[in-house]
Symmetry: C2
Subunit: 323 residues, 2 copies
């Protein structure tokens, strides 16, 4: 197991985490002969020469290609786009990612942020600052429409929490599939402009790709109905923040919660700190340092236990699809 | 059906609401011979003389005592403490309240507010005001303890939403009963001081009675662990807000969300507007004008349909218990 030196130690895998997860997942039937843990700036060469399984915070693909006994790689990141194409993988080796490790945290954060937009919390904060008692009542969530752009692990986790609170959730996915928990409907990218005018709240939770960059410009954001709210927990590059700020200032949108910015930390002179009804969050929506490493350990442990039972594995990266 | 003139018309019962609810609840088998609707300052005397069922926003108990055909009263308020004792009720008449009509709204609002306290939103707002990027990460809700004082319709609705987000919820009830949805445990009032030090977040959702007035003073609030948050969606009289403000100012508590105040609207010179990490909400946690009247109609309709089937009724007020 190789952890990243440049990352908070709370994200690091430990032998205890892995043995605990394995014991629970396999009812004690799977026990590693040995586990070695090191940071990537102090590699354990002897362990690399013998390891059957590699757990890595950042994959050194050239070094992996030399591993003789390797059968399985468990990445502790959800995205593996930095390692594509997977032509460096030794034959017979399978790669697994950490998609879903953020789910519990982002599910609760996303539900909170959508409820805050629904409840007009940004405007209520402004009212408190002016010592103004404005008893505008907001309805219960039932019948309120939330549009989630990006229906993967992040968007799906948010959708499930929102549906349980009563919201009507529509997803936009690159490849719409059948029914999924939390979503009343999953549409394709071509339906976006049709769906925007129906959305009380827009949630952006898609990966940043050539296809999604700049997807939400002035035309898209203005297509939201008056009073709509916007949440971005994905990447700043998906949205034109200047257009968003303009629509907040003119009052077309009732509020926005942004957790991601082009430059982080956000510089003190950035416009976004003071746009009316815009709440700045410091990139905290998805990371849970207390559970992230154990979630990664559980993915690996569950898969090893599943192999023993001949059951299907999860989080397998398909080399042709690249995710 | 008699609505209150002094209340937002959105709360008023209408013939359409009742007929729709009855049709749905009884599959068309229950249809009123007639429905008359008026405000309480323009009473329909002829209707009062004949009605079998009275739906009332505020009960004129002296007038009710004169009704000859009356069999059933449906109040459109949850509390009926203003009508006690029930010695004015004609023999054979049953009284029903609107407990639970707030459930969907308060469930979502309470979950939002608890998540905001858990996520340290009050401190994040202060950081944004200072243009400060403070990336303090907060864990997912699992393992976080919420103590709900008052496990009735309000507290129970909040508990269910919180449990679905992963929080560990303990309730304090006047009469602890068996397991209830959302609550991991329900304790009695004598357990409060033992439970306070275990609570990451305290939710106050009990009615204001002689027993609960001033229940949370400096000693109780200081018994919460450092960094705890406090939510009051009940009545201001349950809590010493001066003690709360002092504990927020000294940093023992991380945040508070108050939706209720001794004087409402809160006057511009009130201290509470500017206490650090205290968020003022203008009494909006439980009222949903778009669904309240239909929820009341559903209680009545469901009960009439249940009578037809010989099934148990809900929201019946026991004259001995007074609720």
């Amino acid at each position: 197991m190789e952890n990243r030196r440049d990352r908070d130690p709370a994200y690091g895998m430990t032998e205890t985490l892995l043995r605990t997860a394995l014991s629970r997942a396999s009812a004690g039937r799977v026990t590693p002969l040995w586990v070695k843990v090191a940071c990537d700036d102090a590699r354990d060469a002897a362990a690399w020469a013998q390891a059957d399984i590699l757990v890595a915070g950042r994959l050194d693909t050239a070094a992996v290609a030399q591993m003789k006994n390797l059968k399985m790689i468990q990445c502790t990141s959800a995205g593996v786009e930095g390692y594509l194409p997977l032509d460096w993988m030794p034959p017979g080796v399978e790669l697994f990612n950490a998609s879903g490790a953020h789910a519990a945290k982002v599910s609760a954060f996303g539900a909170m942020a959508v409820m805050m937009l629904h409840e007009r919390v940004p405007a209520r904060i402004a009212a408190q600052n002016r010592r103004r008692w404005d008893r505008t009542l907001r309805p219960a969530p039932r019948g309120q429409h939330v549009l989630i752009y990006g229906a993967g692990a992040l968007g799906g986790a948010v959708a499930e929490a929102l549906a349980s609170l009563g919201f009507h959730v529509t997803g936009v996915a690159r490849r719409p599939t059948g029914p999924r928990p939390g979503f009343a409907e999953i549409a394709g990218p071509d339906d976006l402009m049709r769906l925007l005018p129906t959305a009380d709240i827009l949630v952006v939770s898609a990966p940043l790709t050539d296809e999604t960059r700049g997807r939400f410009g002035l035309a898209e954001l203005r297509s939201l109905p008056p009073g709509a709210g916007v949440l971005n927990i994905a990447r700043a590059g998906l949205m034109d923040y200047t257009a968003l700020a303009d629509l907040l200032e003119e009052g077309h949108l009732s509020g926005a919660i942004l957790d991601v910015f082009e430059t982080e930390p956000l510089p003190p002179d950035a416009r976004w700190w003071t746009v009316p009804n815009l709440m700045v969050f410091p990139h905290v929506s998805a990371d849970d340092p207390t559970s992230y490493a154990s979630a990664c350990a559980s993915i690996l442990a569950d898969n090893l236990a599943a192999m023993l039972r001949g059951a299907p594995l999860r989080n397998h990266v398909d080399p042709r699809l690249g995710y």
